[in-house]
């Protein structure tokens, strides 16, 4: 579904991604793990063509990802929930979902409300006044409004209380079970390994592990990987 072939990225001469190659299959839930600066966010941005100067190839369903046009890749079915700034804080919850759904005739609002009833309850609330967890749920809901086939998430648990992290992970599990492929970049290793069936570990821009999450979780020296 999503294929990386020999992807390299340099920022100002400093290598960030080195010769990354892997495939994400339809329906998978893949965790991209690694320490700060390992290249996780850059890898995710390559999937939507948002990295200048990337070499190698990233393709989605056999077609190259369009570089420099995030919106075109989104319209092809690649959903991205960026880290942190992923809701429009001045708009209400309903307006956020409206902005997200304008390109999807028919919309997915009923599905989003069914999955996240809190968004319907808080429809008229300004997004900036929602709690961190609710903002993350809203960001997920907004991305689902575009009816993505694959959903890429950049550290959705950042800044959230553990109990809220569980809620977010449960939501992602439901999304994945409904047939949407999920790729999640995270630093919360235990929670992510419970969610994802496959894990890829990056270290200094290189892939140092690509295998089953269970296998990674069993490793006695797990924390030395990060």
């Amino acid at each position: 579904m999503l294929t990386y072939s020999n992807v390299n990225v340099n920022y100002g001469g400093l290598p960030v991604l080195r010769d990354i190659s892997f495939k994400v299959e339809e329906g998978e839930c893949v965790a991209i793990l690694g320490h700060n600066g390992a290249g996780k966010t850059t890898l995710l941005k390559c999937s939507v063509g948002d990295v200048e100067g990337a070499t190698g190839a990233v393709s989605y369903r056999g077609e190259p990802v369009v570089r420099g046009a995030v919106f075109m890749n989104s319209r092809r079915g690649i959903g991205l929930v960026p880290q942190g700034h992923n809701v429009f804080r001045q708009l209400t919850v309903r307006q956020n979902l409206g902005v997200a759904g304008l390109n999807s005739p028919g919309g997915a609002l009923d599905d989003v409300y069914r999955l996240f009833p809190v968004l319907e309850q808080r429809g008229s609330q300004i997004a900036g006044s929602l709690s961190g967890g609710q903002q993350q749920i809203l960001a997920l809901g907004m991305s689902l409004m575009t009816k993505p086939s694959i959903l890429l998430l950049d550290e959705p648990s950042t800044g959230l209380a553990p109990v809220i992290v569980n809620d977010v992970m449960d939501s992602l599990r439901q999304i994945n079970n409904s047939g949407t492929t999920v790729v999640i970049v995270e630093q919360n290793i235990p929670a992510t390994l419970k969610l994802a069936s496959r894990a890829i570990v990056l270290k200094a821009g290189r892939t140092v592990f690509d295998g089953a999450s269970r296998e990674l979780a069993r490793k006695e020296d797990l924390w030395t990987w990060f």
Binding site: L80, R89, L91, I126
Partner: protein, 302 residues
């Protein structure tokens, strides 16, 4: 009386300019200093068409707006791919470069500008009629911008300005929205230029220098950036108050510096006392109240 009406015409023209600049910089988040050049393109196009082809003023003003729109799209397509400081620099280059062209071409009158622009309305009611026209267009501009920014398209503009990557990740084309916002704002500035040319019957390059964007920006900031009524309040204050002291009959050597001091004092006062601007401050207060109410109701729900 004639003097007061002329000042009111000028206020109406600056309401149009400041409101259109606010659409570009306040709502669209596009940092540009090239607004005076689109004002100039409107003024010069209207003046030249009026003088050489004798076209009706309405046609000339609309043609001025179209020229401003075309020029803004050309700038936007090249410069809006970049953002922030780079856009600022590109717009500065565009402003300075095009004004040099205007200063150096014979058909634009060179540094001396163009005079004898046809007088389309004559008689004792000339100024009141112009005031009615400019005031109506200013009101129409404010209404149009309010319609744009408070509708679905306005929400998309706000979303694009605040979180561009998140916006693009939802399948929305940020570039198209930027170009459209820029073109609308610059087209409106072109209309203001046409109105200026036909009322004052004289245009010269110095009226469109880059420093005028600082005056427009000050109007926007003092009134409240990103608010519909902010630029209106800003334009009224920054034109009317410095002009009011002319009634004190001070000697010219005192008058001009005094107007500058009043302008600067107003800017300093607002920066310290109301940094969100007069109308912006009121909106923020309302927003704070609304948010507090929502938070308390959210807390009660939990």
């Amino acid at each position: 009386m004639e003097y007061i009406l002329t000042i009111m015409v000028l206020i109406a023209i600056f309401v149009i300019l400041a409101s259109s600049y606010n659409l570009v910089i306040g709502y669209g988040g596009l940092a540009t200093v090239a607004h005076p050049i689109f004002y100039a393109l409107g003024a010069y196009t209207s003046a030249l068409l009026g003088i050489h082809f004798g076209l009706p003023a309405v046609v000339c003003v609309l043609a001025g707006a179209i020229v401003a729109i075309v020029a803004s799209v050309l700038l936007a397509l090249s410069a809006l791919r970049v953002a922030g400081d780079y856009l600022l620099i590109a717009s500065l280059g565009f402003q300075l470069g095009l004004l040099q062209v205007i200063k150096n071409f014979e058909f634009t009158g060179g540094p001396g500008g163009i005079s004898a622009i046809p007088n389309t309305i004559t008689g004792p009611w000339r100024t009141p009629v112009y005031l009615l026209i400019c005031g109506s267009i200013a009101a129409l501009t404010v209404w149009l911008i309010a319609r744009i920014v408070h509708g679905p398209y306005g929400r998309a503009i706000t979303a694009m300005r605040d979180e561009e990557l998140a916006f693009s990740a939802l399948g929305r084309n940020a570039m198209t929205i930027k170009v459209v916002v820029f073109a609308i704002g610059c087209g409106i500035a072109g209309i203001a230029g046409g109105l200026y040319a036909f009322y004052f019957q004289y245009v010269s390059p110095e009226q469109f220098e880059v420093l005028h964007s600082a005056a427009m920006l000050t109007m926007v900031v003092l009134g409240g950036m990103g608010t519909t009524m902010g630029p209106v309040v800003g334009a009224v204050m920054l034109i009317a108050i410095p002009q009011a002291i002319t009634f004190l009959n001070l000697p010219p050597a005192v008058m001009a510096p005094m107007q500058g001091i009043i302008f600067t004092t107003l800017v300093m006062l607002f920066l310290f006392l109301r940094p969100a601007g007069l109308v912006g401050g009121l909106s923020k207060d309302r927003m704070a109240g609304r948010t507090a109410t929502e938070k308390s109701s959210a807390g009660a729900a939990e």
